[in-house]
């Protein structure tokens, strides 16, 4: 009995050795890819760009300042390889990178606009099937080449580009200029019969100095405005100059997995409102009473949007009700909108402003792009008894004929720390602004 026990013990110990630790990799035997870029190759089908973290530069507290060498604060390196597929590129990369490439910490996958317009179906499936790629990677469509974009990612606040991607691509929570475009969301929307996917629009800022600023890329003219609002830009064209070259603003709209158009920052806000992903953002709304002045609001979505779809003569009639709450940040004109009698004026004008924007955005996506990025089909889908009927119904082809009935309900809740704006008196004694 005792002998048997010893034999069993030894056997079990040996079998544990037989597992061979076959997939054991020390952390420092791996090279961590932070971002992957897809471009059309010059000599091959693809040009894959890897951004690989250099942990040595991020150690920080190591104490050996001189040991870092020439690179200074180099935290990542960029490697571009032309190859037929993603995995062949990974294989080829390992011929030069000393450590095995590991993509389990990749935060962003960047497609060039050119690639996206041709369709990225096959690459999405590669990414989603693999265990190593995270489904919560962010999908980015770069308006420049992906290689150039990734090369330009040189975060200043972050030591680690992964953190840069994570934080900036999460900023939709407080800017509402980009969407939550994780790979899994993209895949779900792309594979569903009721919706179309979007990807965050990324770009490299074009301006060499602040003197070069122009509005060629702004969308304000389309909206018949006199000057651009904060959201009337797309990534790459923002009038901004600084050490950070890369920017994210707007959405790439896909039909299936083929990119068909772009939304600017403000339209993205409307998209978020219509889908209920809107959190809060600052808005500048033209003063309804005084020309040239703004009312600044911090607008939050108080409830999930109410979305209803009715089929009228085979055409979708979509009802959308958005409920918003706002805090007053400033009333530039000094008009006493805080007064309960005047408040509806302010609310009405904000409602109208947002309603108009929403209507334009929805019309643009349905009439111009024929894509249901807001996923209204989900409301229609529930009316079907069988999958075959729903499949046959072909929502996505009918969406372009839809009419929209948008209703916005905005309530101002808090005036901030001032109950009313009191203009500063001048030597001439009269108020600077008119007060009705």
């Amino acid at each position: 009995m005792k002998k048997l026990m010893i034999v069993l013990l030894i056997a079990s110990l040996l079998t544990s050795l037989l597992t061979g630790c076959f997939d054991r990799r020390e952390v420092d035997e791996l090279a961590y890819v932070m971002a992957i870029g897809f471009d059309k190759g010059k000599t091959n089908i693809l040009k894959i760009t890897f951004q690989i973290a250099i942990p040595k530069g991020m150690g920080g507290g190591g104490g050996e300042e001189g040991g870092g060498g020439g690179g200074g604060d180099k935290n990542s390196m960029v490697l571009s390889i032309e190859a037929p597929t993603l995995y062949s590129a990974i294989n080829m990369a390992n011929t030069t990178v000393s450590r095995q490439l590991n993509t389990s910490h990749a935060k962003a996958v960047v497609f060039s606009k050119e690639m996206a317009q041709q369709g990225i179906d096959r690459y999405i499936h590669t990414l989603i099937r693999s265990r190593e790629f995270r489904p919560n990677m962010y999908m980015v469509v770069s308006r420049t080449s992906a290689e150039e974009f990734i090369k330009s990612v040189q975060p200043k606040l972050e030591g680690n580009p992964a953190k840069y991607y994570e934080l900036t691509l999460n900023s939709y929570n407080y800017t509402a200029f980009i969407g939550n475009t994780q790979l899994i969301n993209f895949y779900n929307a792309a594979s569903a019969f009721y919706s179309n996917p979007v990807a965050t629009l990324g770009g490299v800022n074009a301006f060499k100095s602040s003197k070069d600023f122009n509005l060629n890329d702004s969308t304000y003219t389309e909206k018949r405005e006199k000057y651009p609002q904060e959201g009337d830009f797309r990534a790459g064209g923002i009038t901004k100059y600084g050490e950070l070259k890369t920017e994210f603003m707007g959405l790439a709209v896909f039909d299936g997995t083929k990119m068909v158009g772009e939304l600017d920052g403000q339209e993205t806000s409307y998209y978020l409102m219509a889908t209920g992903q809107y959190n809060y953002a600052y808005w500048s709304i033209p003063d309804p009473k005084v020309e040239g002045y703004f009312i600044l609001l911090n607008v939050k979505q108080s409830r999930k949007p109410e979305r209803k779809v009715q089929m009228v003569d085979g055409k979708p009639n979509i009802h959308l009700k958005i409920r918003l709450e706002a805090d007053i940040l400033n009333i530039q004109s000094g008009v006493n909108y805080e007064d309960l009698k005047q408040l509806p004026v302010l609310e009405k004008s904000a409602e109208d402003y947002i309603k108009q924007g929403l209507q334009d955005m929805l019309n643009k996506t349905s009439k111009q792009y024929h894509t249901d990025i807001c996923g209204f089909g989900a409301e229609e889908k529930r009316k079907f008894l069988t999958w075959e009927e729903w499949e046959k119904f072909n929502w996505l082809s009918r969406y372009k004929d839809s009419t929209f009935n948008v209703d916005v309900d905005l309530k101002v809740r808090r005036p901030g720390l001032l109950i009313r704006t009191i203009p500063s008196p001048t030597s001439e004694g009269n108020m600077e602004v008119q007060n009705q």
């Binding site: 961590y32 973290a53 991020m58 590991n102 994570e166």
Partner: protein
């Protein structure tokens, strides 16, 4: 000058050393005798026992001892079985002789008097019916209280016996017992052995000529440690008394807390030679009677020569000696013993050990500290959570670290991962080796810290902190993050209230490191599964070790992982099957009810 040269010569040239007979430890003639005797005794019994003992018989023995055993076998039957340890010529006798000379001779033989230096024999005379009667007392110096002997035994016997007594007993034994000895604890016996046992344990034997009986007075008076703070189980709140090495002081400490006549302190003796007194404590109408019987059965059935500490007893009593977790709690705290007794558990206190054994023990008890029930329940629950965290950290943290860094890099935040990578950049060893180096070093520091003599103690701290902590990192032997892991693990293991359990987890920790290194989370999960099976299968005195979690016991026993307020702990633990399951009525705070007029229990 000649001497000088001679000495020089002896340094250089070889000289045959003088042949001196050195001391050689030879085989004793008696060796193996006792074992053979036992074996032969057993041979009358069941064949299974014989089979087990065969190994003993097979041991080589000298021809002489073989012959002896033949002779002894015949004598064996007459002999008092207790007296086998006297291989000398003294023929053991049972009953006390009426002749004091004979008694004196026999006692001298038994205690090997001229050789045994600390045996005191004092001969004197008692006046009985006007005539002097010879008597003597025998005691061991240092174990007895001299003043008590002088004033309570010698003084009345030698001086007061001269007085005129109104009534006269005919029997001198009766006379001495009822008239002359004002001592409170007297044993009157006709058997030599009882007197000898008493003398061995700090008693005083009194033999009187013409008496069939001898007296043994309890005059224990050896020096002992006082009642001090418990060293291993410190609390902030609660009694600060700890057990010491004296049995009766210890039982008194428990009785002092409980003040209940239903508390039974049963005596038992362990050790064929040492006859170490033990007390089995339980509360008559709470503890389950079959549990009491089982404990008594186990304690009384133990056969060995000497027992020194309750640690020995624990190892002899526990159910599964190969299980890592302790199955009996050893505690220094009388209040903890008392609390366990009120729950229907049983305690064993052994003479000479400041640790009482509390049984049966479940996993639940091992992570409770004495303090838990004294402090208010939110605080106690915080402490419990912290403690559980400590338990898991000390068990799993290094294993998890190895598993994550070797297999599951995707599990940790990118920043942390990169920090680990950059810290490991220059370390030449794999993570497992690295962590084993540090764990072994840590265990070394710990062990050395206990063994090191007091005055050199601080050196260890310097070596440990400086060399292991700083220099190892600076020399790139280990990464700084690993130092944190090992330190947190160490702190976690100090938070385990039961140090036996802490030992168990120290051993298991290495198993989890190896499992984590060989198969990642799969290995650790397998280990946890096996450990779970092991623990749930274990029993302590018939009580499942994982009770009340697995099996889940019925009843409202509520002091499990978290503890409810004290007034809600109404029942005793169900798994010890107490006779009385309720320890408080449904409403114990009667004042909370409006109509209560001070009449409790209604």
């Amino acid at each position: 000058m000649v001497n000088y040269i001679k000495n020089l010569k002896s340094l250089i040239f070889f000289e045959e050393p003088e042949k001196i007979e050195e001391f050689i430890l030879k085989e004793s003639n008696d060796e193996g005798k006792a074992e053979i005797k036992e074996a032969q005794k057993d041979s009358d019994r069941t064949p299974e026992l014989k089979k087990r003992d065969r190994s003993i018989i097979k041991k080589p023995m000298s021809a002489a001892s073989g012959n002896d055993s033949g002779e002894e076998q015949g004598e064996n039957k007459e002999k008092d079985s207790n007296n086998k340890h006297q291989p000398s010529a003294v023929k053991p006798r049972e009953n006390i002789s009426t002749s004091v000379e004979e008694n004196l001779r026999y006692m001298k033989d038994i205690f090997t008097v001229p050789d045994n230096g600390d045996i005191v024999i004092r001969e004197f005379e008692i006046t009985f019916k006007g005539k002097p009667v010879k008597a003597f007392i025998i005691l061991i110096d240092g174990m007895t209280d001299r003043t008590v002997i002088n004033s309570n035994i010698l003084h009345p016997l030698m001086i007061l016996s001269d007085k005129d007594f109104k009534t006269g007993e005919d029997d001198i034994g009766e006379f001495v017992k009822s008239r002359l000895l004002p001592h409170n604890q007297m044993k009157v016996t006709e058997k030599y052995q009882e007197v000898i046992d008493e003398i061995n344990f700090g008693g005083c034997g009194l033999f009187v000529d013409g008496s069939k009986v001898a007296f043994a007075a309890d005059v224990k008076g050896w020096l002992a440690r006082g009642i001090e703070r418990p060293n291993t189980e410190l609390v902030l709140r609660g009694p600060q008394e700890g057990f010491n090495e004296i049995l009766r002081a210890n039982t008194a400490l428990v009785r002092k807390i409980l003040k209940d006549e239903d508390l039974i302190v049963e005596n038992a003796k362990v050790g064929k030679r040492s006859k170490t007194p033990c007390s089995i404590l339980y509360i008559k109408d709470i503890a389950n009677e079959s549990l009491v019987e089982e404990v008594k059965r186990r304690v009384n059935s133990i056969k060995l020569d000497y027992i020194i500490d309750s640690g020995h007893l624990e190892q002899l009593l526990e159910d599964d000696p190969y299980m890592l977790a302790p199955q009996i709690i050893a505690t220094e705290r009388p209040d903890r013993v008392a609390a366990a007794l009120t729950d229907g558990k049983i305690a064993i206190i052994m003479h000479g050990s400041p640790f009482a054994l509390v049984l049966p023990t479940t996993n639940n008890d091992l992570i409770h500290a004495a303090e838990d029930s004294y402090i208010r329940f939110p605080y106690a629950n915080l402490l419990r959570c912290v403690r559980i965290l400590g338990v898991f950290m000390s068990l799993l943290l290094p294993g998890l670290y190895v598993a994550i860094t070797n297999y599951h890099q995707e599990m940790i935040p990118t920043d942390l991962l990169l920090a680990i990578v950059s810290a490991r950049e220059k370390v030449p060893f794999p993570t497992v080796v690295e962590i084993l180096i540090m764990e072994v070093a840590f265990e070394l520091i710990r062990e050395a810290g206990i063994r090191i003599p007091g005055p050199i103690g601080p050196t260890l701290g310097i070596i440990g902190a400086l060399i292991l902590g700083q220099a190892a990192v600076a020399a790139n032997i280990v990464s700084p993050i690993l130092i944190i892991i090992v330190a947190v693990t160490g702190i976690g293991s100090f938070a385990i209230p039961n140090f036996s359990l802490a030992y168990a987890f120290r051993i298991l920790r290495f198993a989890y490191i190896l499992l984590g290194a060989s198969a990642g989370f799969l290995g650790i999960t397998t280990g946890l599964f096996l450990q779970g099976v092991w623990l749930t299968a274990a029993k302590s005195f018939g009580v499942p070790f994982m009770a009340p979690f697995a099996p889940k016991t019925s009843g409202g026993f509520s002091d499990e992982f978290l503890r409810p307020p004290f007034w809600k702990q109404e029942t005793r633990p169900d798994y010890v099957n107490p006779r009385d399951t309720r320890k408080q009525p449904k409403i114990s705070r009667v004042w909370t009810q409006n109509n209560s007029e001070g009449d409790a229990n209604e």
